[in-house]
């Protein structure tokens, strides 16, 4: 099982098309640095992206340097995954 310890999901609210295209630029990075859970669609919709722990600092710096407002939707993915796995095991028991 892949481990997602420290990975976070950031929820970004792009104000306009220009900010959306800054987020789309992230999508094209090689190797892939972010996994869009909700891709950049339109200013009225949030963009959710999973950021590996190792990339967090750079990505947050990128967002802040471009004035992109964000919040941390999931603080540590692995915590939720562990809970999910435990709940499944309990249900099986």
């Amino acid at each position: 099982q892949m481990n997602f310890t420290g990975d976070q999901v950031l929820r970004v609210l792009a104000r306009d098309e220009k900010q959306l295209s800054l987020l789309r630029d992230l999508e094209g990075l090689k190797p892939q640095k972010v996994d869009f859970w909700r891709g950049p669609a339109r200013p009225s919709l949030p963009v959710d992206m999973r950021v590996p722990f190792s990339e967090l600092k750079d990505i947050k710096a990128y967002l802040e340097s471009h004035g992109l407002a964000y919040s941390v939707m999931i603080k540590d993915i692995q915590v939720l995954l562990d809970e999910e796995r435990e709940t499944m095991a309990k249900s099986r028991r």
């Binding site: 099982q1 892949m2 997602f4 999901v9 999508e27 090689k30 190797p31 892939q32 996994d35 869009f36 859970w37 909700r38 891709g39 950049p40 669609a41 339109r42 919709l45 959710d48 999973r50 939707m73 999931i74 993915i77 939720l80 995954l81 809970e83 999910e84 709940t87 499944m88 249900s91 099986r92």
Partner: protein
């Protein structure tokens, strides 16, 4: 594995083996109305199964529902299972569902991407695509919701095999998509198609590949409005609705566009809840409320299909 569908936990997530065992139990326990159809094999050679709910007749107009085309969207398989059980529990009680099943058949494909789903349990919970590999291509998997022959390869899909929205080498190149295409085309009388995804609480209809409104856009808009209202009245969860390209984003090669272009006038795509903070990791405690509200929306669409034959 559970011995019967009544001891199965509908408020938990399950593995592929548990779901396939549950399917066998459901068919055994309700053989008067449910049968299992094997429509093909996945890239890694797993069976692709469809549940058929029918009260008789032959070649009746039908409704197609699929869940789990994106494997990490676990709430969709769980919702599909609950809905299948709801159908067998409710169909003989009179009311809307009985009328629907006296006139139409319902097909439900619970695990549309079995390889990807198995992979989310074994290796990578956040895997989205199927598991196909091709010589000379470094990355694994195709986005099965970009592999359909409608606007294939257009905007909103990607020709980079490492992308999460990689459309694959050609339309229907993926066995999981080809199996559905062959089944629905062979059946020839499917009147509604509902493809269930998560997340972001939306109910959408074609087109995704273009901003061009479809011929019966007005009808679909009002049907979606009614379905979303029925959904809201269960647990107060708000959905937005509209055509895919104007509500969400332009996406090409998607299931509902293919269905619509094949003459299936009532083609819808659901994006189920996350209630704003869990994304794909919706806790199992929200499975049943999500299924309950989704059921009312689906019933609205099915009833409209029944009362508007074409």
């Amino acid at each position: 594995l559970e011995r019967s569908t009544s001891s199965f936990s509908y408020s938990s997530y399950h593995t592929l083996e548990e779901i396939y065992s549950w399917i066998d139990n459901l068919v055994t326990e309700h053989s008067d109305i449910v049968s299992k159809i094997h429509i093909g094999n996945s890239f890694e050679n797993r069976s692709i199964l469809v549940l058929k709910f029918s009260t008789g007749g032959s070649q009746r107009p039908a409704i197609w529902i699929d869940t789990g085309i994106h494997s990490r969207e676990w709430i969709t398989h769980a919702t599909g299972i609950w809905i299948a059980k709801k159908i067998v529990n409710e169909y003989s009680k009179g009311g809307v569902l009985t009328d629907i099943l006296n006139a139409m058949d319902i097909f439900i494909e619970l695990v549309t991407n079995p390889d990807g789903f198995a992979f989310t349990h074994s290796m990578n919970r956040l895997w989205r695509k199927n598991k196909s590999t091709r010589p000379g291509i470094f990355c694994i998997g195709v986005d099965l919701n970009r592999n359909w022959n409608s606007g294939f390869g257009g905007n909103g899909s990607n020709n980079n095999p490492c992308s999460e929205t990689y459309h694959g080498p050609s339309p229907q190149s993926e066995p999981e998509v080809a199996a559905i295409v062959n089944f629905i085309t062979g059946h020839g009388n499917v009147k509604a198609l509902i493809s269930i995804h998560s997340y972001s609480q939306m109910l959408m209809y074609p087109y995704g590949h273009s901003l061009q409104p479809v011929a019966n856009q007005e009808e679909l808009y009002h049907l979606a409005k009614g379905a979303v209202k029925a959904l809201y009245e269960v647990h107060g969860i708000e959905y937005i609705f509209g055509s895919i390209s104007t509500t969400l984003y332009v996406a090409s090669g998607i299931t509902v566009d293919w269905a619509y272009d094949r003459g299936i006038k009532y083609a819808f795509s659901f994006e189920l809840r996350d209630t704003g903070r869990y994304g794909f990791l919706l806790p199992a405690s929200q499975i049943i409320p999500t299924a309950q509200e989704t059921w009312l929306a689906i019933l609205t669409i099915m009833e409209h299909t029944r009362t508007h034959p074409y």
